[in-house]
């Protein structure tokens, strides 16, 4: 390139334009740990709610009814932004903050820990205390971190379970398996007398696999899987502990005995549901959220459910499903403090049995999460509701995402790659090690927070909420 006056002039011009633009953008990268409340601009009372798109027009209508009830009772309108999918809510919350858009109530779910540890949520423990008894204890556990409550459930509970083909079982004279041995026996009978696959699993969707570990570890740890997991994340216990390795070995047994084949890796969740509905498989391990889809498929057999069988024969160990409410409601810590009383009131209002019923009734509630909400009158519903008191929180709500991925790989490894349970467990332990070293991961964020960070998420005062009947 010839160095002419023109070219030099041109380069300077371009460089200058770039610098001007960079400088004039004016958004400094903040390193201060401060969270200033956003200015509440509109004079009339308005609450902004952010959540994922609703599952049906009926549900949207139910929410609108709740909003208008709230408005007529408390003279405060609620504006809902139903946008995107559940996985996008943390980003939307972040973007709203960058764009100075107020969010008073936000939908919460799997990412509860991420938001709480980032300081994005307000500690609701004291705010919810007056009406906490409305919620079955098991429904609050997934939203509780470090003894503090960060959200309240607003959608029915779903947990992991086996679906099975009742008609086929009756035809082959099989009993519902309560132990692993019985499950194996049933599977062998199915394999030898029919062309039907004993168990189908949507293993191509890797997030399904940790549910197996959650089920077995709940038993091998003596029904202490949640405290043990927290201990593991805090470094007080190892993933290579005897109970954890045993849990992996119990999973491996499924493929060793031919109950799970590599087909599982090639099937996604929808494919598994389709296979089950078509009668190509006798049993399917998945979550309660599939029940509406299965029923809509109008299979030519009756559907039954049973929990993950006992793999451990220790005394006192009981079968423990894992589950959580499908959604909860939380208050972002960036809420304008002036909005706090109304937001707290809204949380109480929407979880009152009368209002909650309006919403949950549009969601086929097999297991409602608020006492007093009518469950769906399904023969399975009664069975499912029995599981609720014993249900444990999903462990992947507690594990950081990298650990979840390594657990997925570990399970796939022991099932299909002849990996030993110990080496698989070691890979998970190493992943946690890496996380602590490279990302300064620490489960107990509250303990490491400064006073300023803590006060940013505590409500400055506890507003008095009127309890609805």
């Amino acid at each position: 390139m010839k160095i002419t006056f023109r070219s030099v002039w041109l380069s300077c011009l371009l460089l200058g334009a770039t610098i001007v633009m960079v400088a004039s953008s004016g958004v400094a990268i903040s390193t201060a740990a401060q969270r200033t409340p956003l200015v509440h601009s509109s004079p009339a009372c308005q609450l902004n709610l952010l959540g994922e798109t609703r599952s049906s027009p009926a549900e949207t209508a139910a929410w609108n009814k709740v909003f208008s009830d709230f408005k007529s009772r408390f003279h405060c309108s609620v504006v809902a932004t139903w946008q995107g999918q559940w996985s996008g809510i943390p980003q939307l919350l972040n973007e709203a903050r960058i764009a100075h858009q107020t969010v008073d109530i936000v939908a919460d779910g799997t990412y509860n820990y991420s938001l709480a540890s980032a300081g994005d949520l307000m500690d609701l423990t004291k705010l919810v205390a007056p009406y906490k008894s409305r919620f079955p204890a098991a429904t609050l556990q997934p939203f509780t971190v470090d003894g503090r409550l960060w959200a309240v459930p607003d959608e029915p509970e779903t947990f992991s379970m086996f679906f099975y083909n009742v008609t086929l079982f009756k035809k082959l004279d099989l009993t519902v398996p309560r132990t692993f041995a019985q499950l194996e026996h049933d599977a062998q009978v199915i394999k030898s007398r029919t062309n039907v696959l004993p168990i189908v699993e949507g293993g191509s969707d890797a997030w399904e696999w940790p549910m197996w570990y959650m089920a077995t570890f709940a038993q091998t740890s003596g029904n202490k899987s949640v405290p043990d997991t927290i201990a593991f994340l805090e470094g007080k216990q190892q993933f290579t502990s005897a109970a954890s390795v045993q849990a992996l070995e119990d999973i491996a047994q499924f493929s060793k005995d031919g109950l799970l084949t590599e087909n599982a890796l090639g099937t996604d969740e929808n494919g598994a549901v389709a296979a089950f509905v078509k009668g190509l498989a006798a049993m399917m391990f998945d979550g309660g959220w599939d029940l509406p889809t299965i029923e809509a498929g109008q299979p030519k057999f009756s559907i039954g459910v049973f929990p993950f069988p006992l793999v451990v024969s220790k005394a006192g160990v009981f079968v423990q499903p894992n589950g959580s409410p499908s959604e909860g409601l939380a208050i972002p810590s960036s809420i304008p403090r002036a909005d706090l009383p109304m937001a707290a009131q809204f949380l109480e209002f929407v979880s009152s049995p009368l209002e909650a019923n309006k919403i949950q009734s549009t969601l086929d509630p097999e297991v409602p999460t608020i006492t007093g909400v009518k469950p769906v009158s399904d023969p399975l519903s009664a069975t499912l509701r029995e599981y609720l008191p014993k249900t444990n929180s999903w462990l992947d709500w507690i594990w950081p995402a990298d650990v979840v991925t390594s657990v997925e790989n570990a399970i796939e490894g022991v099932l299909f790659s002849h990996q030993s349970a110990m080496s698989a467990a070691k890979s998970v332990q190493n992943e946690l090690q890496t996380l602590r070293q490279e990302q300064n991961y620490n489960y107990d964020f509250w303990a490491t927070w400064s006073k300023a960070q803590r006060s940013a998420v505590e409500p400055p005062f506890i507003p008095k909420v009127e309890i609805q009947k």
Binding site: G26, T53, P57, W86, I98, T158, A274, W289
Partner: protein, 310 residues
């Protein structure tokens, strides 16, 4: 131009010289097949390839439309076949549930607006690389090509910040500008490629006849690059019509949402209403087919035929 019987861009390279005295075309025997034999096997092979192509492309489309017509249960039980009951109602239900009417308008405005920006900008840019010389051109070209190489997702939040600072956040104008910016690299290279194939002599002749430089661009080169413009319309239009990610970052108001954002309504955390989703997708994809059919009419060969003679 008097010597234009053999244009300057005559292909260089060895090929069989014609037998002196004849102007016949000698068959190229290097392939060791006689021309007649080749012509006979060529056509059946062509139609076989076309048949495979049709199966691979039309069957999925039919499958999608059938999926839209099945009931939710039948979608899972009768996966590959003809729907037993044609649930035409799925289309109107999908339309209502996703409020597609308003979103259609928004998508049309955004796609149209972006094309209005991209077509002139990219043709000017491409022309400047193909037919004008200035120092540093090559480096600017490579600089612009970086735009094609930026990984998906890394510019999401920063782009949000830029639109915020320009007071364009949560507006369709902002979305249009972002889309246009992101299409520039590809569009400029595309137009450069098409302007390249226009012989320089045409441009020079136009200028000799009294055209300004811009006039040569506007009146001579641009019409000849119509296939390029049509291609740009098709590609940019298709990618923007289906674009979800940047729209989800930049648009938060419900009444400004584009079509892809509306489709999320059918997917909830663990289950998806596939028939209605497919119905909505069929409705959403149809305009693209129309756009393609309209634009590909511009693929006319021989635009420059005879341009050099006389």
């Amino acid at each position: 131009m008097t010597d234009s019987m053999v244009p300057e861009k005559a292909p260089a390279g060895p090929y069989p010289e014609p037998h002196p005295g004849t102007k016949q075309r000698r068959p190229d025997l290097r392939g060791r097949l006689s021309l007649r034999w080749r012509r006979r096997t060529f056509t059946p092979v062509t139609y076989l390839v076309m048949a495979v192509l049709v199966v691979l492309t039309i069957y999925p489309m039919i499958w999608m439309v059938f999926g839209a017509l099945k009931s939710q249960g039948e979608f899972y039980t009768n996966i590959w076949g003809w729907p037993h009951i044609f649930s035409w109602g799925n289309f109107s239900q999908a339309w209502d549930q996703a409020a597609l009417g308003r979103k259609f308008l928004n998508s049309i405005m955004v796609t149209g607006g972006t094309l209005l920006l991209v077509l002139p900008l990219c043709s000017m840019g491409g022309y400047s690389f193909a037919k004008v010389w200035f120092p540093g051109q090559r480096w600017i070209f490579y600089f612009i090509m970086i735009g094609i190489m930026i990984p998906f997702g890394v510019t999401a939040i920063p782009t949000l910040t830029v639109t915020l600072n320009l007071h364009l956040f949560d507006t369709l104008q902002g979305l249009v500008l972002v889309y246009a910016g992101q299409s520039l690299s590809f569009g400029t290279f595309l137009m450069y490629a098409f302007f390249h194939s226009i012989p320089n002599e045409l441009v020079e002749a136009a200028q000799a006849d009294g055209c300004t430089r811009f006039g040569a661009f506007w009146r001579v080169a641009l019409p000849l690059a119509r296939p390029g413009l049509a291609t740009l319309v098709i590609f940019t239009g298709t990618s923007i019509w289906n674009e979800y990610f940047m729209a989800s970052v930049l648009i938060h108001q419900a009444n400004l949402e584009t079509l892809p954002l509306g489709l999320v309504v059918f997917t909830s955390q663990h289950s998806t209403d596939y028939p209605e989703l497919f119905a909505a997708l069929t409705i959403v994809t149809a305009p693209l087919v129309i756009l393609y059919l309209a634009a590909q009419g511009q693929f006319i060969s021989g635009l420059t035929a005879g341009a050099l003679k006389g």
